[in-house]
């Protein structure tokens, strides 16, 4: 048989992991979680962007007042038109022959207001009420009229005084200029943290389901006669993680493409930075949680039991999100809002964000807000990496010891013991 024997070195550990990861990747990227999930997420993003645009549009649309002038008050028509643009509204002025005509126009609704009387003491006739902006404009114009008259009477040139007044301004000294990241960081951080929580949860459960599906269908018996449990576990985590990463990337990219031109996010730079930080934390967080989920899932033999077996790990993830929502985001908001964080909240956030299972989500919030010193960021990464090493060792042991024990749920303590 030696002639037919293929090269035995052909399947090194790296190729084994590659083959397993490739199968997971190809299978999952054609699966529902990826295709439907991506389409729905991008559609939601597009909808959100469209809604934002509509809201901004409405704010930018200026109202036009139709104002009629009669008698001496007609002198105010020109100044009102001139002032309208700087006051943020448009005005359509018209000369009205008689007060009576004007009043009937107002009553009919073809005029918003009729201005009569003198420029110094105008009188506005409206149907039900006057727009405060229009009222303020009229008051200002009347005051200026009175002032100009008094200035002329005192022998001063109203034009000269006006230009002098217009030259006055206040110089503003900002002691702590808000950085762009501080302004938009909390929003980006919040979105990023939520995406991490969601993606780690979704793709973690894909891993758990996959582990038990292999166990339930007994494929694992064939697989483990040619690859080692650790290689199988690692290949799964890499393959499924890549699919999650690609989905996260597509959604983030679509988000950037949709939000930046519409002006929802004014700072593509900060957003891109946050996305890169988010990608790093996704990779680390996913590996950490995926290993824990795979190990706990391997304790059971039926797919229906996966969610109950993985409860300890999924609870940890939910707690992380609660901490983010209750502690980290308020603390960041307070700091970037210019105030001090409520007592102890900032310290609590810092401490919690250095505890490995919480780190990926909490650190992505803090880093997006730009308030993490470099050493703290590096320490967080180092701690997560160290815990990944630990979880790999423990998880692979639990996985290897449980994956071929079929039937009733295995206790963790038994799974950690050397296989009998």
């Amino acid at each position: 048989m030696s002639s037919a024997t293929p090269d035995r070195s052909a399947l090194g550990p790296r190729r084994a992991i590659y083959l397993i990861a490739r199968r997971e990747f190809v299978t999952r990227i054609r699966g529902k979680v990826f295709t439907i999930g991506t389409i729905v997420a991008v559609a939601l993003l597009a909808l959100y962007a469209v809604l934002q645009l509509a809201v901004i549009d409405r704010i930018n649309t200026t109202t036009t007042f139709k104002v009629g002038f009669s008698g001496p008050a007609t002198a105010l028509a020109q100044p009102l038109e001139a002032a309208s643009s700087s006051l943020g509204f448009k005005v359509h002025v018209s000369d009205i022959a008689t007060d009576a005509q004007g009043r009937s126009d107002v009553r009919a609704g073809s005029l918003d207001a009729l201005v009569e009387g003198t420029p110094g003491a105008p009188q506005a006739v409206v149907k039900t009420g006057i727009d405060p902006t229009l009222q303020a404009a009229l008051v200002a114009l009347a005051k200026q009229e009175v002032l100009s008259n008094d200035l002329s009477a005192a022998g001063l040139s109203p034009a000269a005084v006006e230009s002098q007044i217009n030259a006055v301004s206040v110089r503003i000294d900002t002691l702590q200029p808000a950085t762009a990241a501080q302004l938009q960081g909390p929003i980006i951080g919040f979105v990023m943290a939520f995406a991490l929580y969601l993606f780690i949860g979704i793709y973690g459960s894909v891993i758990g389901q996959g582990v038990v599906a292999e166990k339930a269908s007994r494929v694992v018996e064939i697989l483990l006669s040619t690859v080692r449990p650790g290689q199988l576990l690692l290949g799964k985590v890499i393959g499924i993680g890549l699919v999650g990463l690609i989905q996260l990337g597509i959604i983030a990219l679509c988000g950037l493409l949709l939000t930046v031109p519409t002006g929802v996010l004014a700072l593509p730079g900060a957003a891109i930075g946050a996305v890169l930080i988010g990608v790093m934390w996704f990779v680390l967080g996913f590996i950490l949680y995926a290993l824990m989920l795979a190990a706990t899932a391997s304790l059971v033999s039926r797919v229906e039991e996966v969610s109950s077996a993985t409860v300890p790990v999924t609870m940890l993830l939910v707690v992380t999100w609660l901490l983010a929502y209750v502690v980290a985001i308020p603390a960041i908001d307070a700091v970037t809002g210019g105030g001090a964080a409520p007592h102890g909240l900032a310290t609590l956030t810092t401490v919690l964000s250095l505890i490995p299972p919480f780190t990926p989500v909490l650190m992505s919030i803090r880093m997006a807000a730009g308030e993490v010193p470099l050493w703290e960021g590096l320490l967080a990464v180092a701690l997560v990496l160290a815990s990944i090493v630990g979880v790999t060792w423990l998880g692979a042991r639990i996985y290897a010891n449980s994956i071929l024990r079929f039937g009733a749920r295995i206790r963790i303590r038994d799974a950690l013991r050397r296989s009998p």
Binding site: S2, T5, L19, R23, S217, I222
Partner: protein, 303 residues
């Protein structure tokens, strides 16, 4: 490699307080079809899993060509587990190629081998379908293809015939025979004893984790006392007991099944029969494997 032997040498395994295997020893030679029979729970699957390295033995060794079996040599074993194990929603060809690659084959060779085996097993046009769309019997053929695809040196099949229709049984038998003739060591378990008797070069009977008999069916037969069917219509009841050491096993009308100790010649029995009148039949009874199996399994008390 011709002449390589798969040796299971005093392998023991216990699950908690339950002894699954107790110093189990046997060997499967190259080019040999070895049938592994025994009651449920006797340890057949456990033995196979240990050979595959899927389970660790508590004691004993598994050797291949005289060398302890290693992770690399295990890749040369084709395995068909009892509870069939493939991905239900994966395409047939796709997963065959995947499994072959995991056994060290390159993708183009794996694809060619997959096409060849699907053709051979009558599934040439099903390669693109999901496994779960196939019938039970066809899924089993795919499972067999998965075990054979990478041209293994050893084939281990746990209950390959269970659930197959007669045509599929013929296909499976032909393939196993062909593999053995090509020099591969083939070990399979089955409860279909007629099939095992017909197909196998040697048989091992396992009970409660011990090998109680191993050898060719002929050798197993030679271990038991010879029996003879005698049809002597004129004989009175109890005629055979006159012969030294003979025991009557069964009486069926005028026919009597008599067991003789090997020390007593069959001619003594024939003469005794002729003394009663005409003898219409005198025939050595060759017990079937199932009869041998039953006698071996029930004879010795459980250890």
């Amino acid at each position: 490699m011709a002449g390589r032997v798969l040796e299971i040498d005093r392998v023991s395994k216990r699950y908690g307080s339950v002894v699954a295997l107790q110093e189990l020893s046997f060997e499967v030679r190259a080019g040999e079809l070895f049938g592994f029979v025994g009651p449920n729970g006797a340890g057949k699957t456990t033995t196979m899993r240990i050979v595959l390295g899927v389970l660790a033995a508590d004691a004993g060794a598994v050797r291949w060509g005289g060398e302890p079996i290693t992770f690399a040599t295990r890749r040369r074993i084709g395995y068909m587990p009892e509870e069939r194990g493939l991905y239900p929603s994966m395409g047939v060809t796709e997963q065959l190629v995947y499994l072959a690659e995991l056994h060290g084959m390159r993708a183009p060779d794996a694809r060619a081998a997959s096409a060849r085996w699907l053709e051979r097993l009558g599934l040439a046009d099903r390669g693109g379908e999901q496994l779960q769309k196939l019938s039970q019997g066809n899924q089993q053929r795919v499972q067999l293809a998965a075990a054979l695809l990478f041209s293994p040196d050893v084939l281990i099949l746990d209950e390959p015939f269970s659930g197959l229709d007669p045509v599929a049984v013929d296909v499976m038998s032909a393939v196993l025979r062909e593999q053995a003739d090509a020099g591969i060591s083939v070990l399979f378990s089955s409860h279909q004893l007629e099939l095992v008797e017909q197909l196998c070069d040697r048989v091992g009977i396992i009970r409660a984790g011990r090998m109680v008999a191993a050898g060719s069916v002929e050798e197993l037969r030679s271990g038991s006392a010879p029996r003879y069917w005698v049809d002597a219509p004129g004989a009175a009841a109890g005629w055979a007991e006159e012969v030294l050491g003979a025991t009557v096993v069964r009486v069926d009308g005028s026919r009597t099944l008599v067991e003789l100790p090997t020390s007593t010649g069959d001619q003594a029995l024939l003469q005794a029969a002729l003394a009663t009148g005409p003898v219409r039949e005198f025939r050595r009874d060759t017990p079937s494997l199932s009869e041998l199996f039953r006698s071996v399994i029930t004879e010795e008390p459980a250890a």
